[in-house]
Symmetry: none
């Protein structure tokens, strides 16, 4: 199922005593899985890949997780736990539509930038050098952003056009721009946020600037 790419992911060799305090093995596995999912995507990643990136024995994996899917969910949940407070805060402070949109995009961009640095990207058989959509973090970002938008539309902060289309459009912009943003170094969070916000507040940005 995985003939496609070399697996450059090196297991971080545990050396200090501190790392030997294992029951952080769970953490080790989660970290490895994050890297593997980011590089290969959920579907193409194998449990083997994760174990390999872990440096642990294969059996150990099953002391913590029953399957690849369970790791995926654990990462997703952890990520969700992390973003949610931030989003809630942004949501609270937003008074105007522009405010709301800006902070929604910013939160999404910041979250991804934090969580997805050091990503490899290569190795896809179909030569898609694209950000992986099936990564736990992205799924979380998606979900939260979508909820965010829907809530705002419901609350009247965003105008009540076709809500589904609006959510789709915003998510699409967020996702695709995130990828473009990540190619710039350092990740251009401010620029991306401004651009995206302006699209939704007034059409093509330069028709204003």
């Amino acid at each position: 199922m995985n003939p496609e790419a070399g697996r450059p992911l090196k297991p971080p060799r545990p050396s200090t005593k501190r790392e030997i305090t294992k029951t952080q093995n769970r953490g080790l596995i989660l970290d490895a899985a994050r890297r593997v999912f980011a590089e290969l995507g959920y579907a193409a990643a194998t449990v083997r890949d994760i174990i390999g990136a872990t440096g642990l024995a294969s059996g150990t994996f099953y002391n913590y997780f029953k399957s690849k899917e369970e790791v995926f969910q654990a990462i997703r949940d952890a990520a969700a736990l992390e973003v949610r407070p931030q989003l809630r805060e942004a949501r609270m402070k937003a008074e105007t539509g522009e405010d709301f949109i800006a902070s929604a995009f910013r939160t999404f961009f910041e979250f991804l930038a934090r969580v997805r640095t050091g990503e490899a990207g290569g190795g896809n058989p179909s030569a898609l050098p694209r950000m992986r959509i099936d990564t736990p973090e992205v799924v979380v970002g998606f979900t939260e952003l979508r909820e965010d938008i829907e809530a705002a539309t419901a609350r009247g902060i965003l105008p009540a056009t076709d809500a589904a289309y609006l959510a789709a459009a915003m998510i699409g912009v967020a996702f695709e721009m995130a990828e473009e943003m990540m190619t710039r170094s350092p990740p251009d969070i401010d620029g991306a946020t401004a651009f995206a916000t302006r699209v939704f507040m007034g059409g093509l940005p330069s028709s204003r600037a």
Copy 2:
């Protein structure tokens, strides 16, 4: 990568009954692969899945394609062959920015609507976003649209903002909205086109209309 470079460009039109069956089988495999990729995604799909969806014997697959990747490329190439002229025409005729954007979106939406009918849908093991990004047709749509946008920006029809961000934003909108659009029946090509165009021409639709 193309060992048969010296062959006649036009494949000889199938005339005998045998050749017709052969062409049909190739099409059978391509169709099956389209369905399987759409349902499972490229990475999760197995050659077996494709063969199974085909009704043919396993060996027959290898009479036509060397691997899963080769089918993918064949589908992508066929799709590209189909959209490219349409996009070029839209690009040529567009005189204003609005024109350009509207027809780019419309072409993309129409193309996807045509190509994605008969899609299966469910069956995902984890709660992954249901939209497959790694489907050959989508890749083609992406590439072509991006080129389109960049050309238009270069020609001055579109204002010179950050072209990469603009391309990303449009692609994101197109991609995500297409998904939403496909859930409505019949596919709401007109509505989706209008909505997307208005976003890029004037910000949130209802803030104007």
Copy 3:
């Protein structure tokens, strides 16, 4: 079963009318098989390989032979038919042991030289650049030489030592020297014959010359 080597064997494209007089297809197949066996050896060669080297359709093969083994036997029989008269003649003329040995070696060397020119040799997984032992011609050569020796021993032309050991030794010398001989161009039939004969007539050659 054959992942190992590229198959450089080109099907000789039939072009002239004369070659189209097919029922020499049998000959075509035999020739192709000879080449394939020489390059890959009997065990590693596949029917596919032979068909490929033939330029014919796969089904055609089965109009002439039931299997790889049948082709092998056909080649072997044809070869045997060809050497036997020569060997008989040499056998008849030989009056002394030296005569006999010399002509036995010479006949063997000549036969192989004639039949095995243009051999490729490469491509073995275990990097054995050795003459193939499991080639129909070699089998024939073996068999005939062995019979020859045994007959001569029986007739008293050769001294009655351990006949089995003698046969083995002569065959070994013949076979291994044949390989060495074939590496020289043109094949050094005279030298090889002289050398081999002298070994058996007086020990290490230079202890005489």
Copy 4:
């Protein structure tokens, strides 16, 4: 070709019960492979055959070797490790040509006798010569003997005839006679050595003795 170049040269001696089993399994596979190669020849042998002769699960094979070829090499390397010192010793001690030749043959015969016990024998689909040339041990024996002869010729112990022909002749004799020798029980090492030596020291044995 050796990605693990940095590991300690001495593999840690198996101490735990697990490691012992592992070493045993490796040995099991090697032994099975030896038997299978001897019976079927390298080319005709399948990984499946080896696994089958092993009693292990199919996957287990791949815990030890990547392919049929790798097993072959492992056997060959092990065999080479075993003969080389013996041949070197024989080479060193030899003072006369007769000495040299006798001990070269003896070493080779002894080696083969030791290594080829437990061979299965029959089962060949076609009337191929029963001696497998493509068995790892035979390849090693060949290589080592050839080197041996060449060195001796260079040192002047053997007369300076055509060294390549001499090597070929000796190897042929050794190889073919070994086969004959093995059919006698117990393997007639002394007789074979004496016969072979006498051939090279004085021509056909009985013309002298």
